[in-house]
Amino acid sequence: MIVEFGHYALILAFAVSLLQSLVPLVGAQKGWADWMAAAGPLASGQFALLAIAFAALTYAFVTSDFSVLLVVDNSHTLKPLLYKISGVWGNHEGSLLLWSLILALFGASAAWFGGNLPATLQARVLAVQGAIGAAFLAFMIFTSNPFLRTALPPFDGHDLNPLLQDPGLAFHPPFLYLGYVGLSMAFSFAVAALIEGKVDAAWGRWVRPWTLAAWIFLTIGIALGSWWAYYELGWGGFWFWDPVENASFMPWLFATALLHSAIVVEKRETLKAWTILLAILGFGFSLMGTFIVRSGVITSVHAFASDPERGVFILMIFAVFVGGALTLFALRGAALEAKGVFALVSRESALVLNNVLLAVASFVVFVGTMWPLVSELAFGRVLSVGAPFFNAAFTPFMVALAIALPVGAVMPWKRGKLGKAAASMTGALALAVALAGLAFALQTGRSALAPIGVLLGSWLVFGALIDLWTRGGRQGIGDRLRRIARLPRADWGKAIAHGGLGVTIFAVTAVLGWASEDIRVLRPGESFTLSGHTFTLTGVERQPGPNYISTMATVEVHDGDRYIATLHPEKRVYPAAGMPTTEAGIHYTLTRDLYVALGDPQDGGGWALRTYVKPFAVWLWIGSALMALGGLISLTDRRFRVAAGARRAPPAAAPAE
């Protein structure tokens, strides 16, 4: 009964979304205030209906209602409650419902908090948002309905893919969807602005928080996925350049570019057409990601629900929305005239450089991801594009970005002097070079990768610190610190996020360049030494879990005579799903992770054991967390909280000279 109720709510939400995409649009065109005003209640209604549908599906999962096909395929009575709930979105149909719910939530938020937007702009934004919702709801109802029943309910379900039964992966998809879908707001604002034919500072101020929020969610979602891969896949890799990872990474790169170009629109009223284009492409790549994940056109470890028919439907959604928006852009984009002028050397130009590097890097990832498909169809060459290509083709852009960033970040608006901006960063450069030299001297016979990472990473971190420090004026220390503490939160957010990028770059190179590895057969009681740590296998036991059987090893680690930790690497078998997983035993510290994965039992006795010492690996997640935190702090900046459409405050203070 409750399931039917949810099903009904879903169909009703589709009807409401159709109304939402038409009524306000006509109202805005004709200037009918009551039609425009309908947008708000429709958006709220769509959200409420989808919330009911989602609650109904969650209810079916939690109560293990095996008359629902989706629950049979993705759940099991013995599964812990957390994974019964996360099972709702651990599959194609349910994740689409979550996607649509989040889409409706963003639309409804624009209705709830957008009171100070111009009425026509708000109506058009909500109409575009409604149209996207309608497309996805149609997709769900006609090809991927989560509420289908089965005539013969089985006694128990097939269980959720065991790889997804993990705290990291329980929350990885919702965060990614919040990010993907959050970019739809920037898209809706862009299309609405193109229809209006007007982009101004208030528009920029409106788009930025939405983009920033989407970017924060994407950052967290990608970091969670990466962390999960690190501890779950058994050899401590954290990024694989898999098509599905790329599908989340491309929108992230575009969102990062958009975030920065929207600053220019907001503060200087220029780069308007470019920002609109980025907003369209950002969401376009989100849709492309959806296509890659769900169509099965490109093979990937993650692709779920590989179904060409669904792929065609998503491709149609992509063509209509992105094609339509780009056509509109071609027709109207030129009319968006820039107001602010700026010299070749200026903050604006620095941000243009940021945008070009990020956008091109994203296209490189895109071409690499799609190339096997294109090459096979167009040239008859069956080939692969994997990590070695991406490492070689993508990394130079990030290096260039990291080099330019600290200098660009202190460049004054409108007109600056390269020498002056660079001179203020001399300290950062000196410190970075010194640290990199130290790193190079301490490591012997290893590649220069990690020292280069130290150089770039510390350049970014010290650059961010110097940026904050010089903003404090020239008075005494106390006065200066007080000033720095009182800086707008956007400035703090900027420094923290840029520092976080530096930390991440450093950690990536440190893990890749300095990790040590050991693969061997070990019998209980035996031990070996790796990077100054002695690992002893004390035993291997079978242990029952709630819905799996674990083979758990106990490994004790000593540094000389000093006890460090006891690790429990596991192999699990999930009988219901018929799948094994590995759980690495990891001891995290700030300077290194000790990582042990259990392999197969050997014919002659003993177990294969894979051990890694990964220096500074936690800083990968700390760096990502800092980036997200910087975004969050920036999001709480005063000017986003005060009425955005209200009379403009004077432009934020220029960097202190």
């Binding site: 470890v301 450089l353 091109v360 071409v367 090459s375 167009a378 070695p388 192999k571 294969a608």
Partner: protein, 147 residues
């Protein structure tokens, strides 16, 4: 039970696995070469995994074959070519920059040059534009001064 586990592992190449202790060559330098080569070869039955990371039976065979070739005195290039001759280009994770693949390799640099070029041209155009205040800015300035 062991056979059952192995069968499961074949179904799911993502479980921990990759290089097994019995595969490792006694000569560390040659082993390092083998690891570097297999990291750039695709496990041909897996979804986007290198031979070095994969747990599939064929990945193990390829790892052993690469090591055999190296022991037999092949250079890295010869060992890779040996695999390409048997499995085709598909086995290379890093596509060779020949023929149509040039498009793949040139896209990035070409787009960068184009992007920077467009940005420069736009900047030049903008610089030529009037520096004077627009009518709207004049009005706002007046309003501010009148306050």
């Amino acid at each position: 039970m062991r056979a059952f586990l192995l069968a499961l592992l074949l179904v799911l190449p993502m479980a921990a696995g990759a290089v097994q202790p019995d595969e490792i060559l006694p000569d560390p330098a040659m082993e390092a070469r083998a690891r570097a080569i297999t990291a750039e070869l695709r496990c041909v039955v897996c979804r986007n995994e290198s031979v070095d990371d994969s747990n599939a039976e064929i990945a193990r065979d390829i790892r052993l074959m690469v090591r055999e070739r190296l022991v037999a005195g092949d250079t890295n290039e010869e060992a890779v070519q040996f695999m390409v001759d048997r499995f085709g280009e598909y086995i290379l994770l890093n596509p060779r920059p020949t023929g149509s693949n040039l498009i793949l390799w040139v896209t990035g640099p070409a787009l960068l040059v184009a992007g920077l070029g467009i940005a420069l041209m736009a900047a030049r155009r903008r610089r030529a534009g009037p520096e004077a205040l627009s009518a709207e800015e004049e009005a706002r300035l007046k309003a501010l001064l009148d306050e």
